[in-house]
């Protein structure tokens, strides 16, 4: 009898240790792992109970938090990289960079990696925030084009107001990989910051590279999606997405790929979700979304691909083998936040300022959390039923009016951040400047 209890006790410790190990290494970069499956080890609550805490910053948060040893790390558009105690919501440290940090940091071997709009890539001590090394790229910029999205005057080059993320780094086997507005995919020595190689594309890379079996997978705004040898930086294959020479709206890979079982799943601004053979780049299938962008990174589990669209605001589940629709639900506003599978719940942020939980099997909404800023609905950015109220913020196509309109659209506590689930708590950032912990 005594032996029995000792065994159970030991088993309990053993399971706990395994869970700790999974937690410690499972949520330390964008989408949880280098392949970006979006399949969390954690279990999300099926009901909303409370806001556990919120951590205010000086500007909007587009970054998604990551977790390592009970500390959350994320970037702020106020130029800081933050470390926050996940239990208390108290700041552990902050490190100021020279520009906004709308990327998701990666944490490995006691180092936090993130890039900033100041054109530098930072490696910080995870405990103190002290700079270990900095690497200067050829400079950051947003995607830009003449007459982009129909903005006028159409011969004027303007930056894309929806290019809001920076590339989130991935750390694998002593190397850190990230894309840049200078058009390169970089590989640096994770310990020293020394350049191992750089791979040139013809336009901005703000997607996060996915890694599987020694290959990096990333798309560029030059309309191509690339597979690059992680050791040498040599191109293995490239895949051509759609082009849009007229208004540059239906072009570019903003979505970060997910790689599962030899297949690359990636969304595109040409409104397709593509499934590509990871070995050859050959298209297996594509899911057309009627001109609505697929910005999110898909989540994959049990032969199903979960993704969502931007302005058509649709939540989709497709068969991973065939690309056929399994279920579709109409949401209320644009979705840029990537879906996360946590147990039998799918979580994602919506740009109307709500975090949404859906049942994995049925897709039915379980609960949502609305930020206070969204509830206030200043300037009626939202309709009474929380849809975007375009006539109240897009008043003209001329000059900077659409940019101002987009800023107003984002001002209502929009959630671009991809939620992180740890120990039953959901963490995410909002454009209202808060990092939220809810359970």
């Amino acid at each position: 009898m005594k032996r029995f209890w000792v065994s159970i006790f030991r088993l309990g410790i053993g399971l706990g240790a395994i869970a700790m190990a999974l937690s410690a290494h499972g949520q330390s970069m964008f989408r949880g792992d280098p392949a970006h499956s979006g399949n969390s080890n954690a279990t999300a609550p099926r009901q909303f109970h409370r806001v556990k805490w919120k951590f205010p910053t000086g500007d909007r948060i587009m970054s998604s938090p990551v977790w390592e040893n009970k500390i959350l790390y994320f970037g702020g558009d106020d130029g800081n990289i933050y470390a926050v105690d996940s239990e208390t919501g108290r700041q552990v440290w902050k490190r100021t960079t020279g520009g906004p940090v709308p990327c998701t940091p990666a944490v490995a071997n006691g180092t936090v990696y993130a890039d900033s709009y100041d054109g530098k890539f930072y490696a910080l001590n995870a405990q103190t925030g002290a700079i270990k090394w900095k690497f200067a790229t050829e400079g950051e910029r947003r995607f830009e084009a003449k007459g982009i999205h129909g903005l006028q005057p159409k011969n004027q080059t303007m930056a894309d107001q929806y290019d809001i993320f920076l590339s989130s780094p991935v750390v694998v086997q002593g190397a850190v990989y990230f894309g840049s507005g200078d058009g390169h995919l970089y590989a640096l020595d994770a310990a020293t910051g020394e350049l191992k190689w750089k791979f040139k594309t013809r336009d901005v890379i703000h997607a996060s590279p996915a890694y599987a079996d020694g290959v990096l997978f990333v798309g560029s705004w030059d309309s191509y999606f690339y597979a690059v040898d992680a050791a040498t930086g040599k191109e293995k294959w490239r895949f051509h997405g759609g082009e849009d020479p007229l208004i540059h709206n239906q072009v570019g890979f903003q979505s970060s790929a997910a790689v599962v079982d030899g297949v690359v799943y990636v969304g595109c601004r040409d409104s397709n979700l593509y499934a590509l053979d990871a070995a050859t780049g050959k298209e297996k299938w594509k899911f057309f979304n009627e001109l609505s962008w697929v910005i999110v990174s898909p989540a994959i589990k049990d032969g199903k691909v979960i993704f969502a669209t931007s302005d058509s605001s649709l939540y989709h589940v497709a068969d991973a083998a065939t690309g056929k629709s399994v279920l579709k639900q109409q949401d209320k506003a644009y979705i840029f936040s990537s879906p996360v599978i946590a147990g039998d719940v799918v979580l994602m942020g919506v740009l109307n300022g709500t975090l949404q939980a859906r049942d994995l099997k049925t897709g039915e909404p379980l609960w949502d959390f609305q930020t206070e800023t969204s509830k206030q609905n200043k300037g009626w950015v939202l309709t009474a039923d929380r849809k975007f109220n375009e006539p109240m913020f897009f008043t003209s196509n001329w000059r900077e009016a659409p940019v101002v309109g987009t800023e107003r659209q984002f001002s209502i506590g929009a959630i671009f951040s991809t939620p992180l689930v740890m120990n039953g708590v959901v963490y995410f950032g909002s454009t209202d400047g808060n990092l939220y912990a809810i359970d």
Binding site: G147, H149, G150, L151, Q152, K154, D244, L246, I247, Q250, Q376, N377, K378, G379, W380, L382, T383, A384, D385, K387, F388, N389, E390, P391, M392, T395, S396, N397
Partner: protein, 236 residues
Amino acid sequence: MRLIATILFASAALSQAAESAAGRWEGAAQIPGHELKLIVDLSDEGGKGWVGSIIVPGFGVKGAPLVDLHVRGGDLAFAIKGALGNQRAGRAELKAHLTPDGHLAGDFTQGGNTAPFVLEKTGPAQVDLPPRNTAVSKELEGEWQGDYEMMGYARHATMKFANRGADGAAVEFVIVGKKVNNVPVSLVTQDGDFVTVKSEEFGITFEGRFVKEAGELKGTLSQGPMEALLLLRRTP
């Protein structure tokens, strides 16, 4: 005698209301975090019926027509056509009453949200009357078709012109791409050989020249920022 007195009184009251409601009204709706300026012009066209238009400074709205305009006693209600609304938000509506101190006060509803507004009369009405359909020439009546390409997709357009007496011409406009789109036409005009067909709802405009000798209607179809050449020929 009493009946006549009542009728006279009612008619006097209506005429007084008309007089009071007619004019240019300026003020603002108090939406959360924003004061939405409104300039409303209302006229009863000398007793022929109420017409009106609205200006919303900062929103690119100048002279948008007021529709479903009802004035009864001191109460008014109307909706705005082609501005501050879309398929998702529906149309913007205002309900108001004349206050004893001569203001127009009420509720502004848009996208399911409601906010109070108060307007003050600042002068006589300056209603922007919307452009009206004109008749088209006999040679243009009937069905025309052509093909064009937009964003890499081929489309087939059909326009069927018919004169409708005093209402000017009407056009049945169909665009076939991946789907069949019946395009609701809001304006048709012909000025000499220059023809305009406009759909406010779809944001589509065709502007072209009618080349009688060649039997062609040749012009440009624009949809938002996109433009495509479109050559229409009479359906055989």
